[in-house]
């Protein structure tokens, strides 16, 4: 019995280097389990992610619009078609009309005829598949006191029974498609650029959502998708194009593109089509027979915030009264116009 020394494992074992005690194990294990459950709880919103929220591999590897080959573009358009079909159940016509040669688009807006009815705002939303909630609108109609042009006190929330109010005037503001666009200069990833026909466009798949361009724009013409745009399925406009009105994703900028999916195939923009007073004029300024050419040549024209040097392609004009009453109407046009189709 000489070597009957007590072996380990008796009543109060000293903590050994080899292992942990049961108490320590239970305590630390509980802490780890609680920590893991807290981590799982914190990540639980990920359960609500669908594969719709994450970019597909193809989308992730997609190149910048300007670096895409025609085959790449066709694949991207096909992917957008599938996405639209999946999300909205609509067979969309997704195109990518190129800028036309010898065309530079210019907009004219007659502020002496605008009555501030805001039909252009809602026609634009319907045409360009903007989010309905939260609401995104490209056009803002400012109401100002007659005799002043004070944008600081201009009101875009006016809501009288009838417009125009007799002592007010109205000035719709949207993207001016500047020839010297500050929004393009500040973009850190070149996701926005000016096309040869003067339209500043955004590659929604390249935009990182930093919103520098929104801050740079002196006209507040750019809008940010804080959430996934919410568009009712029956209000989707199926005539889409890559650079204009295809449905945007969360976290990207968007803006007026002069409805390039319409205007690059010869149609007029949606805001112009709906204007009840004909205050809105659109066309190719390089064509000497166009309305906008006539307006720039003959009417009194100004641009908004000319002092910031953005060189807008959006011109406000007005009708002077009584200045040319001595000029005769050219008699040779009498009865010649509007024989048909008018």
């Amino acid at each position: 019995m000489a070597d009957s020394a007590p072996v380990s494992g008796n009543a109060s074992p000293p903590p050994s280097e080899a292992g942990v005690s049961r108490r320590q194990f239970l305590g630390q294990g509980a802490a780890v389990a609680a920590g893991l459950s807290a981590l799982a709880a914190a990540m639980s919103p990920l359960r609500h992610l669908s594969d719709d929220d994450l970019p597909s591999v193809e989308e992730f590897l997609q190149k910048h619009y300007k670096e895409m080959t025609p085959a790449d573009k066709e694949r991207a358009l096909e992917r957008i078609r599938e996405q639209v079909k999946k999300r909205y159940g609509v067979d969309a016509k997704v195109s990518d009309p190129p800028p036309l040669d010898g065309v530079e688009f210019v907009y004219g807006l007659n502020i002496s005829r605008c009555i501030g009815c805001r039909k252009c705002v809602h026609a634009c939303v319907a045409e360009n598949n903007q989010s309905r909630s939260p609401e995104i609108q490209y056009i803002r109609v400012l109401e100002m006191e007659k005799g002043s042009i004070d944008l600081e006190t201009a009101n875009h929330h006016y809501d009288p029974e009838q417009v125009p109010r007799p002592d007010k005037w109205y000035m719709p503001v949207q993207c001016h498609q500047c020839a010297n666009p500050p929004c393009v200069k500040v973009c850190p990833v070149e996701a926005t650029w000016q096309e040869p026909d003067g339209i500043t466009v955004i590659d929604y798949d390249w935009c990182i959502g930093c919103r520098y361009c929104e801050a740079a724009c002196p006209y507040f013409a750019r809008r940010f998708n804080f959430t996934r745009p919410e568009i009712p399925k029956d209000e989707i406009n199926p005539n889409m194009s890559y650079l204009s009105n295809r449905p945007r994703q969360k976290g990207v900028m968007e803006k007026c593109t002069f409805c390039l999916h319409r205007t690059r195939v010869g149609q007029l923009p949606a805001c112009l089509e709906v204007c009840p007073t004909g205050s809105r004029k659109f066309g190719n300024v390089l064509d000497p027979n166009s309305e906008v050419h006539y307006i720039l040549k003959n009417k009194r024209v100004f641009v908004l915030k000319a002092d910031v040097g953005t060189l807008p392609r959006f011109f406000y004009y007005f009708d002077e009264r009584g200045s040319r009453y001595h000029e005769p109407i050219t008699p040779d046009t009498k009865g010649k116009e509007l024989k048909e189709g008018a």
């Binding site: 459950s37 809602h122 929330h157 006539y294």
Partner: protein
């Protein structure tokens, strides 16, 4: 001390987990409820369709004035009150005479400065008698509505004529109710008059923003 930490750390983690799962503080979205857009706000139809006034079409009229006036010639213009066409409220400035515009014998036509007829479907030539500068602007396209295609080689263009917007008897463009105003993030809400109507950026996301509706 050691035991306290051993007890407190798992408890704190568990409390975190419970709070994160139950989410007792609801997220208050600054997004207001959607304001429905009325259908007329996106309707590009001109405000007037003078030839297609529904009650006349339903009554079988084809707007050939001479159908009646061939049988019942209207008297020469006098100051006595009209017995027919009393719904016409003539409010056209100093132009207060019917026969300034209507042809005295052929009611299907208008009259020009020389007493000749202007066809009824060319009303812009009648208006041009007085409104020369506007007529010139209309010809050039800077006045009036043009719909369809800007590039006429690619599609048709519709040039609206004077009376599709203006009532010739009351020519100023009629007032309309405005479509709903913006409810947009970062466009704020209407500011009470006592704040001078100025936009206060700090109020944009205040919780009362979505209870206050512009309508």
């Amino acid at each position: 001390m050691n035991a306290l930490i051993k007890f407190a750390v798992p408890l704190a983690f568990l409390v975190c987990a419970v709070v994160l799962v139950l989410d007792p503080v609801p997220f208050v979205s600054p997004v207001a409820a959607r304001v429905p857009t009325p259908a007329w706000a996106t309707d590009p139809t001109p405000v007037r369709q003078p030839k297609l006034k529904p009650e006349y079409v339903a009554a079988g009229f084809t707007y050939q004035c001479m159908d009646c006036h061939r049988i019942i010639p209207s008297p020469a213009e006098t100051f006595r009150r009209l017995t027919q066409h009393t719904e016409i409220q003539l409010n056209h400035g100093i132009n207060t005479r019917c026969f300034n515009c209507h042809h005295p014998t052929n009611r299907n036509a208008f009259v020009d400065d020389f007493g000749d007829e202007i066809p009824w479907d060319q009303p812009q030539l009648l208006c041009a008698k007085c409104h020369g500068p506007v007529y010139r602007d209309w010809q050039a396209g800077s006045h009036g509505r043009i719909n369809g295609y800007w590039d006429t080689t690619k599609g048709p263009q519709t040039k609206r004529r004077c009376i599709e917007c203006h009532d010739p008897h009351r020519p100023p463009f009629a007032q309309l109710p405005p479509a709903p105003g913006p409810n947009t993030l970062r466009m704020g809400r209407p500011v009470p008059v006592e704040h001078g109507g100025r936009r206060d950026p700090l109020r944009l996301f205040a919780p009362d923003n979505h209870s206050a509706s512009p309508h």
